[in-house]
Amino acid sequence: MTGQAFFVLTALADGPRHGYGIVGEVAELSQGRVKLKIGGLYGVLDRLAAEGLIEPDREEAHDGRLRRYYRLTRDGRAALAEEAELRAATARVVRVRLGLAGAEAAG
């Protein structure tokens, strides 16, 4: 799973969001490091939809335009949990190897 896909799934973890809502949430989650452009966002969304990890939730009118909301599917939730676990395990190893885990526990 790419970093962008991971962030997009994470942005949808606590509820459905529309396209630009996902862009904003990803920027916030990544502390501004990941700034999705629309072409990039939909490149990720169409892949995740094709893989059955997300699906459209509803459409809402806003200023005369329709916003489509997306939500995680059951498979998407499982894939995200698995990826988060993998990344957390890797992060734990990194912290141990850098000698940060002991210092943190002592602190």
Binding site: G40, Y42, G43, D46, A50, D63, R65
Partner: protein, 354 residues
């Protein structure tokens, strides 16, 4: 999402123009949603400010580039794209692999020649026909590095390390560009377009076409491509040696001519498969050969500008083009069938819940 009642003036119109880069099937499914998300990023909710923005603002370069990237991925399709775009994707990937294979064979030739010159094989010096024209000065080292890099790019592509291949491609492209610019400025090349004639179609175009190798593209058939490198070397350099040994070296065409004959041979070899109705999936190969033939023809025509006062070489060049053109007509119908195949629908998102 169908239809959009919002009126967001020039900005929306400008973004829709950018969206035209995307294939129709994709726009049908995602365009309105993308435009809504795009405008959400601009509009403030203040009518006066929004009026100004929608009239004066343009989509930024980063935004346009992201759509171009998406378009490249969709047109040069991988898994899950309509058959037509998948065929184009496969054709471009195979054509790129073939072009990079040629570079790798040449690179291998330079490395073998260097080792041979230094008596690493315990043999007498290599025959003159195997000597590559090696430049002097600072370009000497660069020349050998670039040749080795092409072998690494080939291996990276075949083994699926696309990012590595793209990074290495910069190393392969930039020296050729700098050398050509330098030659252009100093006028040291025998003909002004000779270097560009090689660099643009045979280096720049394949490197740009590396965009066809993305996450969705299926892996290349690893072993056939890897095993093609040694026979490729033997085919090119073995033929040269054989022609010299038999005293027929005058028959060796220049490099553009060799490329024309190689592609023509490949078309002839593929023709029985292209004409067989049972050979499913041959269309992508036919399309790849047609693309290679087009690039080779451009290379041949551009390189003819090096012989403006030599009617004999021009006649030979035109004969090579004729051979290439005749050979490619054998696979052209199959290539046309492949790219005109009825698009099959891509995997669609689940229907919207009520």
């Amino acid at each position: 999402m169908n239809g959009n009642s919002g009126n967001n003036g020039n900005l929306e119109r400008r973004y829709r123009r950018v969206m035209r880069l995307l294939p129709g099937y994709y726009r049908e499914q995602w365009e309105e949603d993308m435009i809504t998300a795009f405008l959400d990023g601009w509009l403030t909710g203040d009518p006066e400010t929004d009026e100004y923005i929608t009239t004066e603002a343009w989509p930024g370069w980063a935004e346009v580039t992201s759509v171009i990237g998406l378009a490249a991925r969709l047109y040069l399709g991988g898994a899950g794209t309509p058959r037509r775009y998948f065929a184009w994707g496969q054709a471009v990937r195979r054509a790129v692999l073939a072009a990079v294979l040629v570079h790798a064979v040449l690179g291998l030739g330079v490395l073998v020649q260097t080792a041979w010159n230094r008596r690493l094989f315990g043999l007498p010096p290599p025959p003159a026909i195997l000597w590559a024209a090696s430049p002097g000065g600072v370009w000497f080292t660069v020349f050998y590095v670039v040749n080795a890099v092409w072998i690494m790019i080939f291996l990276a592509l075949v083994l699926g390390h696309y990012r590595t291949a793209r990074i290495l491609a910069v190393l392969a492209v930039v020296p050729g560009l700098v050398a050509s610019v330098q030659a252009q400025l100093t006028g040291s090349m025998p003909a002004p377009f000779a270097s560009w004639a090689f660099w643009v179609p045979l280096t720049l175009v394949p490197v740009l076409a590396l965009a066809a190798f993305h996450r969705d593209s299926p892996p290349a058939a690893r072993w056939p491509w890897l095993l093609a490198l040694p026979p490729g070397y033997v085919l090119v350099y073995g033929t040269l040696l054989a022609l010299q040994a038999t005293g027929n070296v005058a028959w060796v065409p220049d490099f553009p001519g060799q490329c024309c004959l190689l592609v023509a041979l490949a078309c002839l070899a593929h023709a029985p498969r292209a004409w067989s109705r049972r050979a499913a999936g041959s269309g992508a190969w036919s399309l790849a050969l047609a693309l290679l033939a087009a690039v080779t023809a451009v290379y041949r025509i551009a390189s003819l500008t090096a012989y403006p006062n030599d009617p004999h070489l021009i006649a030979v060049g035109l004969a090579e083009l004729l051979i290439l053109g005749t050979a490619v007509t054998l696979v052209a119908p199959d290539a046309a069938r492949a790219q005109a195949a009825t698009p099959s629908p891509p995997p669609a998102p689940h229907p919207i819940a009520a």
